[in-house]
């Protein structure tokens, strides 16, 4: 019931953002008489543009369909997923996000693959299309600060993305609840919400990167392609390159353990430059409480350890560096695009 209400609340929020429906509701009749802060005006227009545009609709449909598909396979395989003496037995509900029968990737994998596309899709023409349409100089000649535009673009897109991912996550939870008949525990619920927040952060990183490209390149197509190139580089080529480097360093079978650990550490460090690696490490830890380390463990560390789930606090501690990395990446690209945008001279088309 609580879930259903939250879903309806989210849906309502979504509807409220829609400009065309705005005039129909009494609530907005009151809103119409209020003076809004210019930042809110821009942000609301951005959100309305996204929500009424085809692009967001298509991306949402794509993500929703694939995720519901993965949910279906997860639910169908739930019975095999539960094994006796499973340390994660207590976290049965979380499995709907991670298990798969091999035919279809899990929910987490889908988000880590399609999330960037969502971020890129909503950001690649943020600044350059305004410039090309000639609206940028007109809007900038209104009494607003220049950074309102770029901030509102980011905030608007992020709000829309957050609402969408939150709704999607809750729908998956609700569907799981209906299909499994077992309610999630409080900790499971918190872990799921944290997972959604993490996904939002991950998409925000890509959103910022594409906004950066939209400031850098005049042509939206160039910006979109560059952002997609970065995405492809990280998902396809970068792991290959890391493998090549590690292969060349591969220690012999008789190498001392310290050497082995050093090489493994190097591999992990290199891999963790990828935002998707950070994201998948962090989500794995959050959704599989039995994960207790993201680096190599020696036998000594393992001896005497009883396989069991980590408490939420410990899981969070484990993913802290990953989260920090993602936040840092997001902020870095935002700062670069902010500075570039603030220093640029805005000439009419």
């Amino acid at each position: 019931m609580v879930l259903m209400t939250s879903i309806t609340v989210i849906l309502k929020e979504g509807i409220n953002m829609n400009r065309s429906i705005m005039t129909l509701t009494g609530y907005f009749d009151r809103q119409r008489d209020r003076v809004r802060h210019p930042f809110r005006v821009i942000m609301e227009k951005e959100m309305a543009d996204h929500l009424t545009g085809w692009r967001f609709l298509i991306l949402t449909a794509l993500i929703a369909l694939t995720c519901l598909g993965s949910l279906y396979t997860a639910l169908a395989n739930m019975s095999q997923a539960v094994k006796p003496n499973d340390p994660e037995g207590a976290f049965f509900f979380l499995k709907i996000f991670t298990i798969t029968d091999g035919t279809m990737p899990s929910f987490v994998v889908f988000i880590s693959f399609l999330g960037p596309l969502l971020g890129i899709g909503l950001g690649f023409d943020a600044i350059n299309s305004e410039h090309n349409r000639g609206t940028l100089s007109r809007i900038l000649s209104q009494p607003i600060h220049r950074d309102y535009i770029i901030n509102a673009k980011f905030a608007g897109a992020l709000t829309v993305i957050s609402a969408m991912l939150l709704a999607l996550g809750l729908i998956v939870m609700g569907a799981g609840l209906v299909a499994l008949g077992i309610p999630p525990t409080a900790e499971e619920f918190v872990r799921m919400v944290l997972f959604i927040l993490l996904s939002i952060l991950y998409v925000a990183f890509w959103l910022n990167l594409s906004i950066l490209f939209s400031v850098l390149f005049r042509q939206p197509a160039t910006a979109a392609l560059s952002a997609i190139a970065v995405w492809l580089f990280f998902t396809v080529f970068y792991p290959l390159i890391v493998n090549l480097i590690i292969k060349s360093l591969e220690p012999s079978a008789v190498a001392p353990p310290s050497h082995l650990i050093a090489v493994e550490q190097l591999r992990l460090t290199l891999m963790r430059i990828m935002p998707n690696q950070l994201y998948s490490e962090a989500t794995t830890t959050l959704l599989m409480p039995s994960v207790r380390s993201l680096g190599p463990l020696t036998m000594e560390q393992m001896i005497g350890a009883i396989p069991g789930p980590l408490p939420l606090g410990q899981s969070l501690l484990l993913v802290w560096p990953q989260v920090t990395g993602l936040v840092a990446g997001t902020i870095t690209s935002f700062v670069i695009s902010y500075l570039l945008f603030m220093r640029r001279e805005i000439r009419p088309r």
Partner: protein, 328 residues
């Protein structure tokens, strides 16, 4: 100072080696329509951007409505409406929605914004097209919508950067009339930048001539003319026809021409003679059209046309161009 709404002092803006605006000093008083006239690339747009605080000047200061735009751009932009060279609207929104958006950015509630937008759309003659998407607007309609967009913030000053570019002549006339009307009605100061001499001449109280980043002269058309053509306020054009030289003959025509020139220069009041395509341009200090005609006819040449004219912006403009070229 209540009188001057725009005061620019020593304004300079450089792009690398290139100086776009060079030590510009200019004042525009409240309520007047000021024309900033100059060829493309003269630095008009850069000056305007500096007035709005969209570009920082390298040297000098600007004060618009008593506010320094580089210190408080928002304060300036509250009072100044700017219509950029190629104004852009959100094509997927209607004209009315575009205006409401601008109004909301200026701190109006949606209800007030709508009322104001409706009124202005009526005023610029777009009332019937207000629900049409701006993507379907013609160039002239966009420009008129741009004017409404500028006026929606109830500005003290409006700055129009080449507003008539790409509109047909009838549309231009209508548009200019609208500007003059609005300016007079609502006591708005208008800064009008253009390279179209005639349009500027048609609407502006005062004109600033802007070439190569420098303001060469300021004043109303008459004072500009007297500044420039102080010694010779009259221009007389005389078309003469001389027999063409036949093969084997001595070139009498050339000789004749020189004779006429000398004779004309002999008349008191003729200061300068220039020849262009068989037409003599005489710069005179007095109205001596009659004497000129008599001299030409007396010399045996045929007078095909005689035209007395007052200097217009055209002459001023070209005169300054000549001057501008000499500087380089």
């Amino acid at each position: 100072m209540a009188g001057n709404i725009i005061e620019l002092t020593g304004l300079t803006r450089k792009y690398g080696q290139f100086t776009a605006v060079d030590n510009l000093t200019l004042t525009v008083s409240r309520g007047e329509i000021f024309g900033l006239l100059g060829p493309n690339g003269a630095g008009k747009s850069t000056t305007i951007l500096m007035m709005l605080g969209l570009t920082e000047p390298d040297a000098g200061t600007a004060r618009v409505c008593g506010i320094d735009p580089s210190a408080d751009p928002v304060g300036v932009k509250k009072r100044v409406g700017y219509l950029p060279e190629e104004v852009g609207f959100y094509d997927d929104m209607s004209g009315l929605d575009n205006l409401i958006y601008t109004a909301c950015l200026n701190g109006l509630s949606v209800i007030d914004a709508e009322a104001r937008a409706e009124k202005l759309l009526e005023r610029v003659g777009l009332a019937n097209e207000k629900h049409k998407k701006t993507g379907k607007y013609s160039r002239g309609m966009r420009q008129r919508l741009g004017l409404a967009d500028v006026l929606i913030k109830d500005p003290e000053v409006i700055i129009l950067d080449e507003p008539t570019l790409g509109i047909d002549p009838a549309g231009v006339r209508e548009f200019l009339d609208l500007i003059v009307e609005l300016s007079r009605e609502q006591k708005i100061t208008v800064l009008f930048s253009s390279h179209h001499l005639h349009q500027v001449q048609q609407v502006c109280d005062r004109v600033g001539l802007f070439v190569g980043g420098r303001l060469l002269a300021v004043g109303d058309i008459q004072s500009l003319a007297s500044q420039l053509f102080g010694k010779s306020p009259y221009a007389i054009e005389a078309g003469i026809d001389l027999p063409v030289r036949k093969p084997g003959e001595v070139d009498t025509a050339g000789q004749k021409r020189n004779e006429i020139r000398d004779a004309l220069l002999g008349i008191e009041g003729v200061n300068e003679i220039r020849e262009e395509n068989g037409i003599l341009h005489l710069a005179c200090s007095k109205d001596i059209t009659g004497e000129i005609a008599a001299v030409i006819i007396g010399s045996g040449a045929r007078l095909t046309s005689l035209n007395k004219r007052e200097y217009g912006l055209d002459d001023i403009y070209y005169r300054y161009f000549e001057g501008g070229d000499k500087h380089e």
